[in-house]
Amino acid sequence: MTSATIAGPHEVLRAQTRWHWSEIAFWLATLLPFVLTPTYLVLGSQIAITALFALSLDLILGFSGIVSLGHAAYFGVGAYTAGLLSTWGWGEPLTGLAAAALAAGLFGYLTSFIIARFRHLALIMITLGIGLVLQEAANSASWLTGGFDGLQGIHTWPIFGALRFDLYGYTAYGYALAGLFVIFLVARRLIHSPFGLALRGIRENNQRMAAIGAPTRAHIRTIYTIAAIIAGIAGAMLAQTTETVSLEALGFQRSADVLVMLILGGTGRLYGGLIGAAVYMVARDQFSGLNPQYWYFWIGVLLIAVVMLLPNGILGGLSLLARRAKAMS
C-alpha cells in the first residue's frame, strides 16, 4: 500500500484536533487589546461575549443544520437568571454563570424535544415562535423582569473576591475572553469527537444518518441543549459585565444579528462566529454615529452580498483564496 492508504475514522478525527499555527496566533492576538487598545476593552468584552453567543449558534446551525431564528431566547434566559440572582443579593459571578447555564440548559433541554421533531420551514417558524413567546412573557411579567424598562440594580461582585469589574473593562475583557476560550476548547473537542462527526452527518443527510442507525433525535437534543447552555453563559456574562438586562437581550433583533454575524464569518467553522462577531461589532462601533435605521441598510446590503458572492462567509472566502494560491504555486 502507498501513502494513499485510507486512514481510519479515529486517525482522521485526531488529525483534525491538531492545533494549526494560525489558531495559536489568533488566540495570542486576542490578548493584544490589553496593550494596544486599552480604551476599547469594554467593546472587546462585548465582542468576546457576542462571539461566544455566535459560537453556540454555530454548533446547532453550522454543524447540525438546525436553523434557528429564536436563539436569543436562551441568551435572554441566561442574562435574566444572572441578573435576577444579583438583584436578589447574590452577585458572585462564577456561581451566577453556573446558575444561568443551568436555567438556559433546562429551558433548552425542554424545547429540544420540540426542535428535534421538525425541519425546514416548520422549524424556522417554531424557533421564531419560541423566541417571541418568551419575549412577550418577559414583557408581561414586569414584576419579575422590570418589563420594558429592564432589570435595575444589578451589582456584580469581584471575581474570586479580588478582581473588581473596573470602568475601563480590564476585568470584563479578561473575564469574557477567558470564558470564550474555555468554552471554545470544549466546543472544539466536541465537534472533533465521533459525536461531532455524527452531527455533521445529520446536517448533510438526516434520513441517511437515521438509516445507518444513528439516534438522530437524541443527538439533536444533546447538541441543542449544549448550545442553549453556552448561549445562557454568554447572556449571563453580558448581564454581569454591563450590570443591566433589558428585553432586547431576548428579542428577535438579537437572534437576527447573531445569525448575520455567523453567516458573515462562515458557518460550520469554529472560528466563523468569532471572526463574524468581531467584524460586525467593530463595524457597528465605527458607524455608531449613524442612525440605527441606516446601519441596517448596510447590514441588508452585506447580507445580500454575502449570500450572493461569499456563500461560506469570510473564512470560506479566505480558504478558497488559500487553496487557489496553493494551486497556482
Partner: protein, 287 residues
C-alpha cells in the same frame, strides 16, 4: 347585541386584511418552496405608494389602489429576476438571509424617505364614519374592507379553479417536476404568480393603513402575522390561508379586547402549538 359581535366583526375585518397580505406568499411558497421573508416589504411599498399619491399628488383613494398593486407587482418582478431566481434551489437558510437583507434595506429606505412617524391617509368621505346596525356600530371602512377582500377571494378561487393559468398553478404547486415534465413553463408561471401575489400584498398594504397604520416597521411586524397565516394555513392552500387568517384575525382582536395583558403572547403560543400538532398547517397536504 352583546359586544362579542362587535369583536367578531372587527376580527373578521382584520382577518380579511391578513388574508390579502398573506395569500400571495402562501401560493409562491407552495409552488417553489421559496421562503420570501420580504413579502411584507412589498405590502409596505403599496402602502407608501397610496400615501404619496393621495397626500402629495391629490389622487383619490380609490385610484391609488390599482397603483399600489402595480407598483408592488413591478418591484417584486424586478427583484425576482435579479435575485430570487438564483435561489430556488438553495437551502432555506440562504433564502431567509437574502430576503431578510431586502427587508432591512426596505425598512431603512422607508425611514430615510418618510421618517419613522406613522403616515396618515386621506379617505373619501363616504368611507368614513360608521353605521348603526342592530345596536352595533359598524365602521364603514371595515365593511368596505370585508367586501373588497371577499371579492378578491372569489376572483382568486375562480381564477385558480376555472382558468388555464389556474390549472397550471395548481399543477405546479402539487408537483413541480411533474408539471415541468408536462411542458408547463414553471419559471414563467412562477414569475407571474410571484408578481400577482406581491401585488395583492401591495393592495393589502394600501388598505391596511387606515386600520393599523403605516411606518417603516410594518415590513417586520406584519411579516410575523403573515408567516403565522401561511404556516398554519398550509402552503399553497388558498382556503387554508383564508381560514387561518380569519382565525388569527378574530383571536388577535378578541385577545386584545378580553385579555389585553397577554394578547400577543397567546397568538404566538397558539402558533407554536398548532405547528407542533400539524407541521404542514391545518390544511397542508404535503409532508
Amino acid at each position: 347585541m352583546p359586544p362579542v359581535f362587535g369583536v367578531l366583526f372587527d376580527g373578521l375585518a382584520y382577518g380579511m386584511l391578513l388574508f390579502l397580505l398573506s395569500v400571495g406568499l402562501s401560493v409562491t411558497l407552495g409552488m417553489m418552496n421559496f421562503v420570501n421573508l420580504a413579502h411584507c416589504s412589498f405590502a409596505m411599498l403599496g402602502g407608501y405608494v397610496t400615501v404619496t399619491l393621495t397626500n402629495d399628488f391629490g389622487w383619490p383613494f380609490f385610484a391609488t389602489l390599482p397603483a399600489a398593486f402595480v407598483a408592488a407587482a413591478a418591484a417584486s418582478a424586478v427583484l425576482e429576476q435579479v435575485f430570487f431566481r438564483r435561489f430556488y434551489n438553495a437551502g432555506e437558510l440562504d433564502q431567509c438571509l437574502l430576503t431578510i437583507g431586502i427587508v432591512f434595506i426596505s425598512i431603512a429606505a422607508a425611514a430615510y424617505i418618510y421618517g419613522t412617524i406613522n403616515q396618515p391617509v386621506q379617505l373619501p368621505a363616504y368611507l368614513q364614519g360608521s353605521i348603526a346596525f342592530q345596536g352595533l356600530t359598524l365602521s364603514i371602512y371595515r365593511l368596505f374592507l370585508i367586501g373588497i377582500a371577499l371579492l378578491i377571494t372569489i376572483a382568486l378561487v375562480a381564477m385558480l379553479e376555472a382558468t388555464r393559468f389556474g390549472a397550471q398553478v395548481r399543477a405546479a404547486v402539487n408537483n413541480q417536476r411533474m408539471a415541468r415534465g408536462l411542458g408547463i413553463n414553471v419559471d414563467a408561471l412562477f414569475a407571474l404568480t410571484f408578481a400577482l401575489g406581491s401585488g395583492l400584498a401591495g393592495l393589502g398594504g394600501a388598505l391596511a393603513i387606515q386600520l393599523v397604520g403605516l411606518d417603516p416597521s410594518f415590513a417586520f411586524t406584519y411579516l410575523i402575522y403573515v408567516l403565522i397565516v401561511v404556516s398554519v394555513g398550509g402552503l399553497g392552500s388558498i382556503s387554508g390561508s383564508f381560514a387561518a387568517a380569519m382565525l388569527l384575525g378574530v383571536s388577535d382582536v378578541a385577545g386584545k379586547y378580553y385579555v389585553p395583558a397577554i394578547g400577543a403572547f397567546l397568538i404566538y403560543l397558539v402558533m407554536v402549538v398548532l405547528l407542533m400538532w400539524r407541521p404542514t398547517g391545518i390544511f397542508g397536504r404535503r409532508a
